[in-house]
Symmetry: C2
Subunit: 183 residues, 2 copies
């Protein structure tokens, strides 16, 4: 199973591709960050995130996309940008019929470190160990994206297969309940 | 000048197209709502919003897209979906090189009613009068989308022309600062 993890953000959107199955050693396929200039207009930043993610999807053809679930409680100043970047990630995946899973930061931390209250360094250390890397991926957003992908691979395989079938079906026939009138 | 106003939302995304210039009577070209089922997965709802908005863009070819600016302070339970639907609207416009303007709810209310604290009924009544309609557009999201478009048309024309030139330029060459490594 090949999973693209996305740690959404406008300034730095972490991306990491992991391949493997639960209970077996995992392999890192790629890791990186899609950056957009903070002085650009919001719509252009979203477009740059889309183009960056499309490149990752084209190159690595993941079977699942795992995105961090954004909460409105966290860090009010950046949460809107994070929510909007996550929307772009979900949209890019849905358009290709790739199932999208959302995982909370605590679920991801608990999956890779055993505790939902782990800090960045601990997550980085475990990602490095689990993927047998020589050094922790930098920046932290890239490590978080890999952790998301690992967390997803370790979910119940049956649930993943079901979600995959539903996503493929939906991409073919998405509800388009557009109602309107034209003058 | 033809403007598509978008009142973003996942359950109901209001859309309204208005044509005209500041200081002259305005014309409604179209109005409607893009709806997505609340029991669908978030990624599929975003995809349905995208497909709905693409239809409106294809059909009406607006020169500007005006989207309501979302604040994280408002209505915490729905704000994430609103932010994500607005991201889809901005993305669809940016992809076509159409400039995007964000207006706050108070700016829109002040533009069409003279006060930033107007209620839904007052906005609906003024939209009906300004566009010479026989009845207020329903639901309120559709009326709000028309109010957004009107608000945008009444902005400084020079500013709009400048933004249009920048958007066209950016759509041709969006910064793609993707940095990554592949294992």
């Amino acid at each position: 199973m090949r999973v693209l993890g996305v740690d959404p953000g406008l300034t730095r959107c972490g991306v990491g591709v992991v391949e493997g199955v639960a209970g077996r050693p995992l392999t890192m396929v790629g890791v990186g960050v899609v950056r957009t200039p903070s002085d650009a207009e919001l719509s252009h930043r979203l477009l740059a995130v889309e183009r960056g993610l499309e490149q990752w999807l084209d190159e690595h053809q993941p079977e699942f996309v795992a995105v961090e679930r954004v909460f409105s409680q966290h860090n009010v100043s950046t949460v809107m940008g994070t929510a909007q970047a996550s929307a772009v990630a979900m949209l890019c995946a849905a358009r290709r019929g790739i199932p999208v899973a959302l995982h909370t930061p605590s679920e991801v931390k608990a999956a890779v470190t055993g505790t939902g209250r782990a800090d960045k360094a601990q997550v980085g250390a475990m990602v490095t160990r689990l993927l047998r890397l020589s050094a922790p991926p930098k920046p932290a957003d890239a490590a978080d994206a890999l952790a998301l992908a690992i967390c997803h691979i370790w979910r119940a395989p049956a649930q993943n297969r079901l979600q995959q079938a539903v996503a493929e079906h939906t991409a073919r026939r998405t509800p388009q309940a557009t109602k309107g009138r034209t003058a």
